[in-house]
Symmetry: C2
Subunit: 465 residues, 2 copies
């Protein structure tokens, strides 16, 4: 599959184009492959750092000439092997395309290059009273990577995912042309939705180089609440009741009892080791008070053992600390272990069953795997902690995660709520969507990338190792 001569010719041409912004050292290449999870590290042949859309197009032109794979790279924080190079090729690192091109406070939108990171953007926007709402666990992902993987996070319930927060995109296509997917109007019915087609396409259909994003006003007031519940079922019932009441909760997060124990150890807290809900309410003063009162009533009616809330920033941070520290606490509590994060999503009415059965399965196969959920939209993370050198344990983890996906699909859910497909979930797509949908995706892929140079081995074909 790999054409060494072609790769080496392509690299010479790239050096002529980009000079020192082409690197082939082993360390740089390895750092541009999957490094965060147990999916094997598959480095590219070279890494290039374009600084303009035209340079990206030129890189794609060279890659096409020599049939060399092209893999876009943002911050490298994806979890399913998206940035791996199973067939070698070029990692196109967009981190030097990091300009904020424009911000319109009146229109509450901005246009940024793909390499701009979320925290940098939000720091830039703060004085205008605005923020970009999508907040994935990879706290400092690039906006381009977030769009490419259809990222979401704790804010998705109120603000939506990347699908909902991108107005239009600029992308380099496999034929070297630069597509602009839409105007700057907030809504449009003008033709096929290329914006949404590229969002979540994980670099297999185009390389996103610019994004026009919806922004939101920083809320006048934010309240947070936290409460332990008698059961996951109670936590989910409270969430559904809040949804049905039209409470516009900004965030609803669930920690299972094991995750709460880890947080207690890590953060020296003494929370009851029960399923915990963390809720954020944002809006005007009267609206937030009203919603807090309504949510308190709902939580108590659904078995809340206690109910704490806070309004000022310091107290809010203290109350939400358990949620913020969740991932770190797992590393602290089980030092030296490998920690993975997988995700599924189900209809909210099936969430309690899905979580409870998963907790039981984890226990039954003698594993450790706390659970953290964006319970408002039925999405949750399972975080297995294991010894990567213990092949028996690794096999049990694989089996548990495989059953997790099967359980989610049986409950009309999805194999990935927000992490994407990459290599890790490619085997599940046909089960989730059926062969005709996969055929349609393959037809689109074939039409837009007939040479198959854009991130091969992801989404549509399994190259998981």
């Amino acid at each position: 599959m790999r054409d060494a001569a072609g790769v080496s010719q392509a690299i010479s041409e790239l050096k002529a184009l980009l000079g020192a912004r082409v690197e082939t050292g082993a360390a740089v290449r390895a750092a541009h492959a999957n490094t965060l999870t147990w999916i094997e590290t598959q480095p590219p042949d070279a890494v290039v750092w374009p600084v303009t859309t035209d340079e990206v197009a030129a890189v794609v032109g060279i890659a096409a000439r020599y049939r060399v794979p092209v893999i876009p790279f943002g911050a490298g924080t994806s979890l399913e092997g998206h940035v791996n190079a199973p067939f070698g090729g070029l990692s196109v690192d967009l981190s030097r395309m990091a300009r904020i091109l424009s911000v319109s406070a009146s229109d509450m939108d901005c246009t940024v290059e793909a390499g701009v990171k979320r925290q940098m953007l939000n720091a830039h926007l703060r004085d205008a009273g605005l923020f970009f709402a999508v907040d994935p666990g990879a706290a400092d992902a690039t906006l381009g990577g977030m769009a490419a993987t259809r990222a979401s996070g704790t804010n998705a319930m109120r603000y939506g995912t990347m699908r909902d927060n991108v107005i239009s995109l600029k992308a380099v296509m496999a034929n070297g042309t630069v597509v602009t997917t839409g105007a700057r109007a907030r809504k449009s019915a003008a033709g096929f939705d290329l914006t949404r087609l590229l969002i979540g396409s994980e670099g297999t259909l185009g390389i996103i180089t610019e994004l026009t994003l919806k922004l939101a006003p920083i809320p006048e007031r934010v309240l947070v609440a936290a409460c332990p519940l008698g059961s996951v079922t109670g936590a989910c019932a409270a969430t559904m009741a809040a949804n049905a009441s039209g409470l516009a909760l900004a965030r609803v997060e669930l920690l299972d009892a094991l995750q709460v124990r880890a947080v207690n150890v890590h953060s020296r807290l003494a929370l009851p080791e029960a399923p915990y809900l963390f809720v954020e309410i944002a809006g005007g003063v009267a609206a937030t008070e009203e919603q807090l009162a309504q949510f308190r009533e709902i939580a108590l009616a659904n078995g809340a053992l206690s109910f704490d809330w806070a309004a000022d920033e310091v107290a809010r941070r203290a109350l939400w600390r358990a949620r913020h520290d969740a991932f770190w606490s797992v590393r602290t509590m089980w030092p030296g272990k490998t920690v993975l994060v997988s995700d599924v999503a189900v209809p909210v009415s099936a969430l309690a069953q899905c979580v409870d059965e998963t907790v039981a399965d984890i226990a039954a196969c003698g594993l450790v795997a706390p659970i953290v959920g964006h319970v408002g939209d039925g999405n949750f993370h399972v975080i297995p902690v294991f010894d990567a050198g213990d092949s028996g344990e690794v096999t049990r983890v694989r089996g548990m995660l495989d059953r997790l996906v099967g359980r989610a699909l049986a409950l009309q859910g999805t194999c990935t709520g927000e992490h994407g497909v990459g290599q890790g979930k490619a085997d599940y797509l046909v089960q989730e969507l059926g062969q005709p949908a996969l055929d349609a995706m393959r037809a689109i892929k074939g039409a837009l990338d007939p040479l198959g140079i854009f991130n091969p081995g992801k989404i549509l074909s399994s190259t998981k190792v």
Copy 2:
């Protein structure tokens, strides 16, 4: 282009399949072509009424065998010639696929067949305290048609458009397979977004036969407000200030002075003939009071001449009557005239300029054309009233609408905010999106419908007459 023998063979096979649910009478055929606007009526060769997805697939199979165009038909309320048959073929009328298949109050979703109409669905949902939020001007469109044209309406500001309110779709593809685009989870990162690709594809990529929709809780309380402003600029400034304050206004509608005059005549009101804002606020009791007070302050600061509001349903209806009666009032005030509705959308910051210049243009060419806008998202309708037999006037209307699109595009807007492309806006797409985007759309079209049988002459090629 038309193969009469093929058409007649296809019709025989269809009659064998569907019996009396195939019709070829001239009146039925004419009623299944564009009838609502000045785009020429181009009837299909036959109309078929399938009642299951499998029947739709069988119809597509026959059509493919004889290379006969297939044009899906819902309620026939689209405005840009979407249902016309410029090359003849089969109108696939989905109105007998009108079952509500399931409603989940816990998940706030439902699954319906494509022919279910919006008002029927909302009547069905009322007792569960839920509603489907997208509310196009064609008040009783089918859900399938609304998805196919990416419809929106006055609720889009708060609830989004069809793009945002469909969880997944079932669609028959041109190869006769039935695609299910997603699971029932609220969010997913599993593969290309076929849901969004089909939404707005206007029957050119697939025939939508089922939809799983997001529902919203009926708000606890609804307040409405109405205020005349000194200028369109003031109305737009008030809207932008409300957006920036994070007021979750449910609806913000603008009527220009001419439209207010028409309403006064039609509904025997005595509103000041100035640009008017109509606003709806929904939520809890305290939240709505708070938002009303904030919006009132914003409106007065931006030149509101007065400010009325109402809470109980009768008073609300009276206050919003001018907005509800807008389209009918135009027909009443200018009886015997042809009334058209066109739409564009621009970034909100450019809306005042776009509306003011359009009003001036209308006056300068001696036309009558009131304006109604979904000002919250920069979308507005221009409603020319003219004598269709007066070719000079028709030419002036065409010129005015052409300049309207040019103006919207120059302001980074779109040629259609919510009506879709069909035949009427096809000529503008390349100007709005550029050739590479059109090429990508054509490649997708070619991949998914290589025979070109799905709604030919729409979106991607101009067959406007």
